[in-house]
Amino acid sequence: MTTTVLEVKNLLTQYHTGDGVISAVNEVSFSIPKGQTVCLVGESGCGKSAVAMSIMGLIDPGAGAVKNGEIFFNRVDLLNIKKHELRQLRGNDISMIFQEPMTSLNPVLTVGSQIMEPIMEHEIISKKEAKRRALELIKLVGIGRSEEIFDSFPHQLSGGMLQRIMIAIALSCSPELLIADEPTTALDVTIQAQILDLLRSLKEQREMSMLLITHDLGVVAEVADYVIVMYAGKVIEEGPVVELFENPKHPYTQGLLKAKPVIGQRQEELYTIPGQVPNLATLKPSCFFSERCEHCMSICKEETPSIQTFDNEQQVACWLYKEVSIV
């Protein structure tokens, strides 16, 4: 029996926008077992990043807040611990890397001092020792000339290098859980593969758990153990990566997989899912995907489907399968 590192239950995170209050994360539940990589997949604006920010407790209080639900990290309730206790977990036990390495580092501080920072903050350690650790970390993420890199400023390094530095910062205190929010989106394709390989091997070496957020199914197929598909703030399908890719159940997941071009199979036209993401501020109880769904039924427009588990651990929230089970 594997232990669970992170457990999210009925998470509801809301933001204020010009159009009104929107539920960016709407009753989302999932868990991450120790040493596993869970991928959160969906389009931009579906609430993936809001899940990550809710876990980190980094939602800007002026913009939104977690309204309901529970987040347990190693059985510690993150939503009900003191602010400074959560702060001590951040960067130490849970760390995070972001989409834009170019802007995620402070332009006026050296790379080295930014790597040393979390070490100095979370551990009782001399400056000299921290520097030694930082140099080691730079080597660990696959950059040579570590002394030289240590003293350089972010604008002197390339995007791929900076993302490696971000990974070094995230790993500096040997976290149990690493959250990676679209870590490769802003990078060139060749660099993307290198960064993914790096993340995967580091995760295995250090027995970390990882929550990887992406819109890229290619990335998912490469690194995920378990996949969660989100649409308009809700989980619509989840399951082990092989089952989900071989036998997608939700029409949206099917669409996503169909839209992904496969090498060797030339199609006349790439498949696209018709329509666009609904405005989150004006959602009524319904299946949020119903307007774009080719199998849409009358019930889909009236009631939100609940999530339902299948034998192979796959779970789906879709009325198509509810009817099947009733009949």
Partner: protein
């Protein structure tokens, strides 16, 4: 970097040249002069003085004489003080400087602190209150503020002296003297600080709001740093960078004297001297002082760029 500074120094020449032309011809447009304004002079003495000060020459010849002297470092000869203009400036500039320096330091420290605090707590009660105060400070005419402050603190409450630099007729020395000057400084410094603080606070608030939206602030929080470290180490440094330019722009004010405030508080600084020179048409002093300020302004623009280049690593390396 050296080449860059030389290039910039070279670019200053046309600007200063233009400024000298503008200053000279503006003043030469003013009818009447020191000699005509003095009713005690005889006609012969006037003619002598005309000859002595070169007033008989055509305007543009006089300009080149003046410019030639300027290039030799000679700012002219003050008619009112019967001293070289450079010396007059030297005599009065330091009393202006201490007031300006005190208010500059106060203004910046207060503006940085409250600017950052109201940015961090955007839309809070504190922020709203600061915004109101800032707007008020920006809408008050300096002379009116001076009058109000004198009325309240010097006339009605009688806490502080209304004007001057030392108590009338006093001949204090040592610490007593310093204490006396300091007491006389309080109100002018208060007025200058209140006038300057509005714009600067807003500037820091806007800058800081811009900075705390940046991704690297989120990274700093994700590292689990204390909020104090996030704001003051990661935020403030970036918010201060563009302010270096602004700080350099304030340098001329350190030497230029505060014309209105010095006038209102009867402070014996260069600004008050400038106003006096106006009323008795001491043109050499007016022109010399104006070109001096123009020179300082141009120099501080250059300093602004150099300082910025030193402080911002992004600029530093590119050069």
């Amino acid at each position: 970097m050296k080449g860059y500074i030389l290039k910039r120094l070279f670019y200053m020449i046309p600007t200063l040249f233009g400024a000298s032309i503008l200053i000279f011809f503006l003043y030469s447009l003013v009818p009447g002069n020191f000699i005509d304004a003095d009713p005690n002079l005889t006609a012969e003495r006037k003619a002598e003085l005309y000859e002595l000060h070169g007033y008989n020459e055509p305007v543009f010849i006089r300009y080149f004489i003046w410019l030639g002297n300027l290039l030799k470092g000679d700012l002219g000869y003050s008619l009112q003080f019967q001293l070289p203009v450079g010396e007059v400036i030297g005599n009065y500039i330091w009393s202006s400087f201490i007031v300006a320096l005190a208010s500059l330091i106060l203004t910046w420290v207060i503006a940085i602190l409250i600017g950052i605090m109201s940015a961090v707590r955007q839309y809070s009660l504190f922020d709203t209150l600061i915004t109101v105060v800032v707007f008020a400070a920006m809408a008050t005419p300096s002379f009116f503020l001076g009058l109000i402050v004198i009325k309240i603190f010097a006339v009605d409450l009688g806490w502080l002296p209304a004007g001057g630099m030392i108590a009338t007729g006093s001949n204090l020395t040592g610490w007593e003297y310093i204490k006396d000057v300091a007491e006389h400084m309080v109100l002018p410094v208060l007025v200058l600080t209140m006038l300057g603080i509005g714009g600067l606070t807003r500037y820091f608030r806007t800058n800081m709001l811009e900075v705390i939206k940046q991704d690297f602030i989120r990274t700093a929080r994700a590292k689990g740093l204390k909020e104090r470290v996030v704001i003051f180490k990661h935020g403030l440094r970036n918010a201060l960078l563009p302010a270096i330019t602004l700080f350099s722009f304030e340098l001329p004010a350190l030497f230029g004297g505060a014309i209105i405030t010095e006038q209102i508080f009867n402070w014996p600084g260069i600004g008050a001297v400038y106003m006096q020179a106006f009323s008795i048409r001491d043109y050499p002093l007016l022109m010399g002082f104006t070109i001096f300020i123009a020179l300082i302004t141009v120099m501080s623009n250059l300093l602004a760029d150099i300082f910025y280049g030193i402080a911002d690593p992004r600029v530093r390396v590119r050069k």
